[in-house]
Structures are given as C-alpha cells and as structure tokens.
C-alpha cells in the first residue's frame, strides 16, 4: 500500500501545495493508481524546501522537496509506478539519505512530535499515537495535586517568552478560591517573524486541546478559551474541527471518560493587536474591550477573565504537557540545562539557508542551531547577529554564538528567549535600522495607556529615524540609553518594559555602527539608502536606458548601448534605478 502525503501548512500552501495536490489527484486517476492513498499533513519544519511530498511504500518513506506540478508526473512514473526513488530530489528518507539529514540530527521533537506526521484533521490519527491518553491517565490515576507536582518536577517553563514555571502558575490558580475558573490558550502569536504556534495549531491541534484539558483538571476549571489571531484562518479551521471531533467522541463536554470532569472550549478570534499577547490585555480583549493591560497584582490566577481565577498558557507550553504526563517528569527534566528543561521550538528566518521550524533541546548553542541545524548563512556570507525574542528581545552578536539556549544565559545578553523567533542577520543588515524597525513596531503597538511607553518609545524612534537618515547628533546614543533605561524601569506592562531591548542590545554590541552613522554619515552595512551612493557597474550595464528614463531627477546619463553613469550630486537616493534595472547593474556603496 502506497501513501502520498503533502505538507499543507500555511507555508506549504503559500509555496503552491494546492496545485501540487491537484496534480497528484489527477495524475493518480489518469495513471490508474486508485489504490494509492493521498493525504495531507501539517508543517514538517522544512519550510525552505516547500512544497514537500512524501511517498511511503514497502521500501520505506521518501520525502521530496520543492515539488511542483511539473515534477509530479515523474514522481508518479518513476517512484510510485516504477518503484525507483528519485535521488536528486530527495530531501530525506527513513534510512538517513538525502540532502536534509543534518537538519534533523540535533533536533529533538516533543512539541512537534506529530507535526508533519499525522493528518491534523483526523482525530483517529492523533488517538493512534497515544492521543488523549495523558488526560485519561491524569483523570483516572492522578490527583490534581499529583498532576501539578508532575509539571513542577518536569521543570517546564512558560514558552511564550516570560519563562515562568508552568507548575507554579497552576498551583496559584488552583489555590485561588472560587468555583468558576478559566483556562486560556494564548495563541495570539504577534511577534513578526515567528510562526511556531501557528504550525502547532495547524499540524497538531488535538495536542493543544489535550494540554488545556490537563490544565483545566489541575486547576479546577471547566471552561477554556483559545485566543487565536484572526490572521491564522487555517489554524482556526483546524481548531474548530478538532473541537467538534473531540466533542463528538465525548472527549470534551460533560463527564469526560466516565469521570466527573467537565470541560468545554471556545475559540475567540483576536482582532490584531500585539499587546494582546500580554495576559491582562488578552483578558480585556476576550471581554470585548480595548486590549489595554492593567496593573498586576491582582494576577489573573486570582482575578482574571470575568473576575474569576484564570490560568493562561501559551500554545507551545500546552503542547508539551501530554508528553510530560505520559513519559514522566524525569524524562523531560533529563533534557536541557540546570534551570531550563526540555526543548524549545524556534522559527528560523532571515539570512539563513534553512528557514523553517526547528525543535532543539535546551542547552544547545546558538552556533549549533545556525550552522549545524540550519546549514549556515545564505550565499555563504558572514554571520553577523541573531535576533531573539522579536520586538521584546535583542540582537546577540555572532561573537557570542557559543552561548547556550537557556532562559538565564540568553537574558544575560540583554535579549530574551521570547516565544521562539530567531532571525539571522548577515553583514548586509544594518543594526541601527534593525533597532529602528523593532521600535517602530512597538511604537505602533503601544496601547497608549502609560506615558513612558507612549511618549518614550516615540522619542526613541524619532532619534533612531534621524540617525538612519544621517542626521544623527553627538549625544544621541547616550540619550537613547538613558531613555531606554527609564522606559524599562517605569512602563506598566511587559510590552513597554521590553520595548527598548532591541535598541539597547544593538548599542551594547554594535556601538561602532551607530557611531559610523552619526559621526561619518556612513552605513557600514551599505543598507541605509540615504547614506550610500548609487553606482553603475559598467560590466553589467547594457545601456538599455531604463534607469535613465525612470530617474525622477535626471541624474543618470549615457549613450544607448553604452554603460551609463549616475551623477552623485544630482542623485536624491530614492533607489528607483535599482528596482527597474533588469541586469543587476546598479549597486549601493
């Protein structure tokens, strides 16, 4: 029996998985291959090789990368019919051949255990792989305190960014008096450049539901909300299906598995506000208000949704729970460092060869992730820095690449572990511009409630904008540091307190880049468009005249079919010539 599986996560669909599916469907029909099963699965992690197609037959499983409708014909002819795998397209087979074997070597998959393996729309496939066994074990063999103790012993810390011990959080919520309590799954993944939670929701939604049920049982809640970004329509569809299926099987609802535990779930679609990742803002948003954070305490564990004790966990945290209950806290705690246990999922992107989803044990070094798992920098350029923690995090320079993935070690650099966005930068990325980018983001997303965040980030942003335009002044760097420290100390919520991090870390590690902008009016990365000169490379220029015609100030001249020239004095550095040139003949210096 042969099975063909196509990865149809958002990344797969974006790369054209639908067309590949259609081609496979019609190819199977036309080739008389009706007995071949065609299935879909979630993200397999190798987003850089999408569209991914796996052919599984008696000889084993073979995964092909960059499949197009045109390639489908040969896969069906040579492999499915002829039994000959196509070596040159092979990403990976189950005997360890293929171009991507090193991608998985250092990974350890707990949260992603089912992603890209099962059909996320099938509850049966989840059940086959010990699905809902953990909640059964908890309900029938463990008291609520024992369950909490198990999570405490595992050392699991919140994967949303803060890193607070999950078991402690549960303990507080359980200890809060009150009959009505709530569980909330924070699936408002707002960090630009991070897509771990989306992939888990799309690839293995039942594991998140099971995690919420475990939490519900532990703290004594019978109702849960999943607060998910509206920008993730596919994840929401899969969740809806998962909830409906679980309800139908009696795994959600009243008297689950014959016990007196009752649990119901509802999805709430977020409406697009980064600050709603903050617990109290998220609660306000579910209540239908503007998502502004409020001062804690009281913490949600005491006074949360509708004023009732509430426990909020992030998707990845919840994804770990069933595994911990089934495999025991010791197995989980055996991975990682002294204070950071288990694994962490990262979304790697930017100037990196293998951009995708990786899950590595804590304690692995940044260099190992960048070079061993992700195969290094695109075009083999120089590794400059890695940005972790998104707008709340910071840049860690390549020189510190030996640092271990561990909450405390990462915090010491000034960055944070964050939710798992890992953006890799090479020598063409300007760190000042990077800091400006993140600050613009947080400035936009500031809810405006407290002064230091609302006005402080605005002033910092204005300063950074001046610097990248070459209008920096002596003392700007010192002002940024002072202002940043003030905001960190006085802002009310996590968003404000961490907003200066991208600026402060880049000043700490790349101060000379700031100075080059301010003192010499130069951008060392040749990236800030107002600080570079546009120059024609005569070797590539064909003299087509396109740039000269499009230049708004007539700064480009030259004979037809001869290399052209840009008049630096006239040039306003708008960059239009680069975008219209078809021969890559204009560069920035």
């Amino acid at each position: 029996m042969t099975t063909i599986t196509v990865g149809t996560g958002t990344c797969g669909i974006s790369a054209g998985a639908d067309a590949v599916l259609d081609a496979l469907r019609s190819g199977l029909e036309e080739g008389g291959l009706q007995d071949v099963a065609l299935e879909e699965t979630g993200c397999m992690g190798m987003c850089y090789r999408e569209v991914l197609v796996e052919v599984k037959d008696d000889a084993g499983a073979f995964l092909y990368g960059e499949v197009t409708p045109a390639r489908v014909t040969r896969i069906l002819e040579d492999h499915v019919k002829g039994g000959k795998p196509i070596d040159e397209w092979l990403a990976l087979d189950d005997e360890g051949h293929g171009s991507e074997t090193s991608f998985l070597e250092k990974q350890k998959r707990i949260v992603l255990r089912n992603c890209g393996v099962i059909d996320p729309t099938s509850i049966d496939e989840y059940l086959e792989l010990d699905g809902y066994k953990a909640i059964e074990k908890a309900l029938k063999e463990m008291s609520r305190d024992e369950l909490i103790a198990t999570i405490l012993d595992s050392g699991l810390r919140g994967r949303g960014g803060g890193g607070f011990p999950t078991g402690m959080k549960w303990k507080f919520a359980k200890a809060s008096p009150g009959k009505k309590k709530y569980v909330i799954c924070n699936a408002d993944e707002g960090d630009p450049g991070a897509f771990m939670d989306r992939s888990v929701l799309e690839g293995d939604p039942h594991s998140v539901l099971e995690g919420m049920m475990l939490c519900g049982y532990a703290i004594g809640a019978d109702y849960g909300y999943i607060y998910c970004r509206a920008e993730y329509p596919r994840a929401i569809d899969r969740l809806k299906k998962a909830i409906a299926d679980a309800t139908e099987r009696g795994l959600l609802g009243d008297n689950i598995l014959g016990t007196d535990f009752c649990f119901n779930l509802r999805i709430k679609e977020g409406a697009g506000a980064f600050v709603c990742g903050e617990e109290t803002a998220l609660i306000a948003s579910i209540e239908g208000q503007r998502g502004t954070p409020r001062i804690r305490p009281p913490y949600p564990a005491v006074k949360g949704l509708w004023g009732k004790p509430t426990n909020i966990n992030n998707v990845e945290t919840l994804g770990n729970l069933a595994w911990i209950v089934l495999n025991g806290p010791e197995a989980f705690a055996s991975m990682g460092t002294e204070k950071s246990k288990g694994t962490k999922v990262f979304a790697t992107a930017g100037k990196i060869k293998r951009s995708g989803l990786v899950e590595v044990p804590m304690g692995i070094s940044i260099n190992e992730v960048v070079f061993d798992v992700c195969d290094g920098i695109k075009d083999d350029r120089t590794f400059k820095a890695v940005q972790m923690g998104g707008p709340s995090g910071g840049c860690i320079p390549a020189s510190m690449g030996d640092i271990k993935i561990d909450y405390d070690q990462i915090n010491q650099t000034g960055a944070i572990m964050g939710s798992g966005g890992m953006i890799v930068m090479d020598d063409t990325t300007c760190m000042v511009e990077m800091a400006r980018f993140f600050l613009e983001f947080t400035q936009n997303e500031s809810c405006g409630r407290c002064t230091s965040c609302r006005i402080g980030t605005r002033r910092m942003l204005e300063t950074l904008e001046r610097i990248v335009e070459g209008k920096g002044r002596e003392g700007d760097i010192e002002d940024l540091v002072e202002l940043g420290d003030h905001i960190k100390a006085t802002a009310q919520c996590g968003l404000g307190q961490t907003a200066p991090n991208p600026v402060l870390t880049t000043i700490k590690y790349f101060r000379e880049e700031y100075e080059a902008h301010i003192k010499n009016g130069k951008c060392p990365a040749h990236s800030c468009s107002l600080l570079v000169d546009y120059i024609v490379n005569p070797d590539n220029c064909t003299g087509c005249g396109l740039c000269a015609r499009d230049c708004p100030v007539g700064a480009i001249s030259g004979e037809k079919k001869q290399a052209h020239l840009i008049d630096i004095d006239k040039c306003i550095k708008c960059g239009k010539c680069i975008t219209v040139c078809n021969f890559d003949a204009i560069y920035k210096d």
Partner: protein
C-alpha cells in the same frame, strides 16, 4: 447612509449573530468581525446598529474599532495587497517592495487607489517567513520576490483591473 446594493443580501449574517449574542457579554468584537466580513469594513450604519441592539455606547464601539488593526472604517479596494513587513521580510528588503507598489499604483497619502481597485495594507507577519519577502494579493501569496518580479506581477493585476473597471462601466 445606505448599504451598497451588492452587499444587501449579506445583511442576515450580521443579523443572526447580533440577535443570537446580544445578551452575552464580551461579544462586541465577534459582532464587529461579522459586520466587517459582511461589508468589507465597519460602516457608520453598522456601529449605530450594533450599538442599538447591544446597548453599548457608539463611542465605546468606535474606541474598540480603532484599537484593533483588523477593523477598517473605509471600504477595501477590489484587490487587497498585503505587504508583509515582518522581521524576515524586513531583513530581505520589504521596504523596497513598498516603494515599488506605491510607485506602480500611484499611491501617495491614501492606502487605496482613486479608482478603488487596489488597497495596500502593511501587515506585521503573514507567517511564511521562509518565502521572504512576501506579499499577498487577495488570497494568493507571492514569495521570494525581487523588484523585477514584483513589477511584473503588479502590471498583470493592473491589466486585470482595467477589465474590472470596464465591466463596472458596462454594468451601469
């Protein structure tokens, strides 16, 4: 303010939601989402309507609408271009893409072209970082863009847009 003819048949979807959830607390955002799904934006009429049924003051609804990025107070263009400016796309020069789109479509201060064909929306992350830089036009994703490939794509849509306009003219 009256509803555009083409949207009138969609009114019930908001209606159903509205009456089903009117008494339940915390339903304001789902109701607004239903309204936007029906009309493409939150109209003044919709705000008044929701306020009338739920009893939430119009000012409060307006406050919620303007707080969240998802809600629009103006109609969308025929083609919605979503330009990803997430970190991965930013590092891969999304800024240049923006300039190209504005240049090709002649967008200056407004986010929608005068003929109502194109709306440009910058979004924080479309979530396909491995294809950076990325844009979405309506439901189709275009990844690994270069200035040249983007101009080609936009010109194709401009051509399609002309057909849409011609059809509109013909329809009137």
């Amino acid at each position: 303010m009256s509803l555009p003819e083409e949207n009138k048949q969609k009114v019930p979807r908001l209606n159903v939601e509205l009456w089903r959830y009117a008494d339940e607390p915390g339903q304001l955002i789902p109701l607004l989402q239903a309204a936007q799904e029906s009309y493409g934006y939150i109209s003044e009429t919709a705000i008044k309507y929701i306020s009338g049924v739920t009893g939430t003051p119009e000012s409060e609804i307006y406050g919620v609408v303007t707080f969240y990025k998802q809600f629009r107070l103006k109609p969308l263009g025929h083609f919605l271009i979503r330009l990803c400016d997430g970190t991965a796309c930013h590092v891969n020069d999304a800024k240049t893409l923006k300039e190209i789109i504005e240049d090709e479509l002649g967008l200056e201060d407004d986010d929608t072209t005068d003929d109502g064909l194109f709306t440009l929306e910058e979004v924080a992350c479309l979530g396909c970082c491995s294809l950076a830089p990325v844009i979405m036009i309506n439901d189709k994703t275009y990844g690994r863009l270069t200035p040249q490939s983007l101009r080609k794509i936009l010109r194709k849509y401009k051509k399609e847009g002309k057909a849409v306009l011609a059809q509109r003219e013909g329809g009137n």
